[in-house]
Symmetry: C2
Subunit: 332 residues, 2 copies
Amino acid sequence: MELKQPATVTLAEVAEAAGVGESTVSRVLRNHGSFSGKTRERVMAAVERLGYVPNRIAGTLASTGSRLVAFVIPSLSNIVFPDVLRGASAVLEENRYQAVFSVTDYDPGKEEALAAAMLAWRPAAVMLAGYEHTDGSVKMLRASGCRIVELLDLDGDALDIAVGFSNRAAGRESAAFLLKRGYRRIGYVGHDLNRDTRAGKRFSSFCETLETGGAPLVAREILAGASSVENGRLGLERLLARARGLDAVYFSNDDMALGGYFHCLAEGIAIPSKLAIFGYNGLDIGRAMPQPLSTIRTPRVATGQIAAQLVVANAPPQAVDLGFELIEGATA
Amino acid sequence: MELKQPATVTLAEVAEAAGVGESTVSRVLRNHGSFSGKTRERVMAAVERLGYVPNRIAGTLASTGSRLVAFVIPSLSNIVFPDVLRGASAVLEENRYQAVFSVTDYDPGKEEALAAAMLAWRPAAVMLAGYEHTDGSVKMLRASGCRIVELLDLDGDALDIAVGFSNRAAGRESAAFLLKRGYRRIGYVGHDLNRDTRAGKRFSSFCETLETGGAPLVAREILAGASSVENGRLGLERLLARARGLDAVYFSNDDMALGGYFHCLAEGIAIPSKLAIFGYNGLDIGRAMPQPLSTIRTPRVATGQIAAQLVVANAPPQAVDLGFELIEGATA
DNA sequence: ATGAAAGCGCTAACAG
DNA sequence: CTGTTAGCGCTTTCAT
């Protein structure tokens, strides 16, 4: 049935086989412009028979804009980014856009290099995390003419489109919640803040709010590696060994908080009576814990969706605040 | 300093500015062919001055092969796939390849449609999960002439390259381990097996091994949704409500197992004396639990790395077995 | 060592 | 409604 094709059927061959001109085939395939039903059938039959797969490389070059959307993300380990990609990819697929990605490891220099490589594909948009980019990146992105979307942060000036929420507000509300609950000796366990600037913003506004509330941060433990359950457990262990009498700990992320929770379980530290725990992200896992995790739920998937929708619609420059939700939980 | 560029500097303009021919610029930029040091400097200066970013769409069209690698993955929620992407993307970036992806939601029909869309970009390779593809997908992929890599499964015949491990062996070893430990009344909690065929393979060989061992599966609870901590908790709750006297439960994944663990914690069921728990994947989280999770650690990141390396090297067709590691843990 | 010219496969006017 | 004709921006012979 299926003959071995010469590996690459072109539009010209389809046109020839269907007995029509190339542009007609092009019109039919893109369902754009006008053509008769009969022509359409002939073309589709030829496409089918020859097993023709359009070459979008050629198509993109010939037309103006590409349907590539480039994601330059810090990490794939931090669940935040797969979630954003998930939201975006669903929308992009519906609109026949293709997602391209690369991973910076939270390194701005690498971000610049990868953004440059991405730009070479002339994408319709480049999606980046947050506002902290090198001057070189900014200049290059601005000059590229493609849409720029900054994700998951709203504390800064957007280059073009921004979608997310305020990390500063999240830090503030977390602190306010703990104060309201009556905790006064509060500590912090986090991962590398210089790299994850959004976590850094949460932390600094968290601290400010505590000070304003008259209960400044008692102690902190910053771990070198990435956010992880193991680091959370280790971090809390170290923090408690150093700082006595803490009544609550704020974690940079839910996975860190879960690690802290495990530490308490293992050590028999009663939660929240002896020690309260507060996280960030609102992962599903927090809901399934014996005591639901007190945390802030962030709209990660929605961030991706909205960002993709704005790009597809070629919306004007804007900053979209998706907000977040504080979940009281049972650990604080 | 930076003048507003006409949005799109071309190689021809660089050539003009440098006072050389287009092909010379092309040679210098790709560092291929011969040219004098002086020429090189002139070209690079022009590139710098004009802020030229090569157009890889045009480059790819003009040359033969593209440096795009397409991933058609079932999900981004299941951590397995971000892990694979992570391993692959590091290798691809080093070799100046670009990763493109789309998500099938475990739907073979959607896989076919997305694979077709991917092929339109004429990628160097298409990476897919496992062996279960529609006839249409297989025919199309075969005809495409690009490399095909099937990931995370080795129980079947590879189309071209396969990288992963045997899910059947994993199921078998899990069962053998539980039997060796003396468990005889064993249950199973899993997510949708028709969609996740790899989980299905583990489950069926798990059951076979139990039967051979004279302790056939006592009960199972299959949840409709995706693998998640909440489903694991719910699943175990339901299973225990129906089946009395179980002494061990095998979960389709570590997150499901963690949910089961949480259920036991909440209900005061002693682990492993009253009930043993066994997972699959070897997530970091399992190591941080108060009792390390008994599970099988799979080489997810390595799968991505090796797959990418084989593609970059244009290696001959082959199946690479990366194996897996049984972690005894403390929950079984 | 370097330039000229011919495409790569398609889209986009422009005529008919 | 449909065919012809130029390119899109680059790589690649092939001369020079």
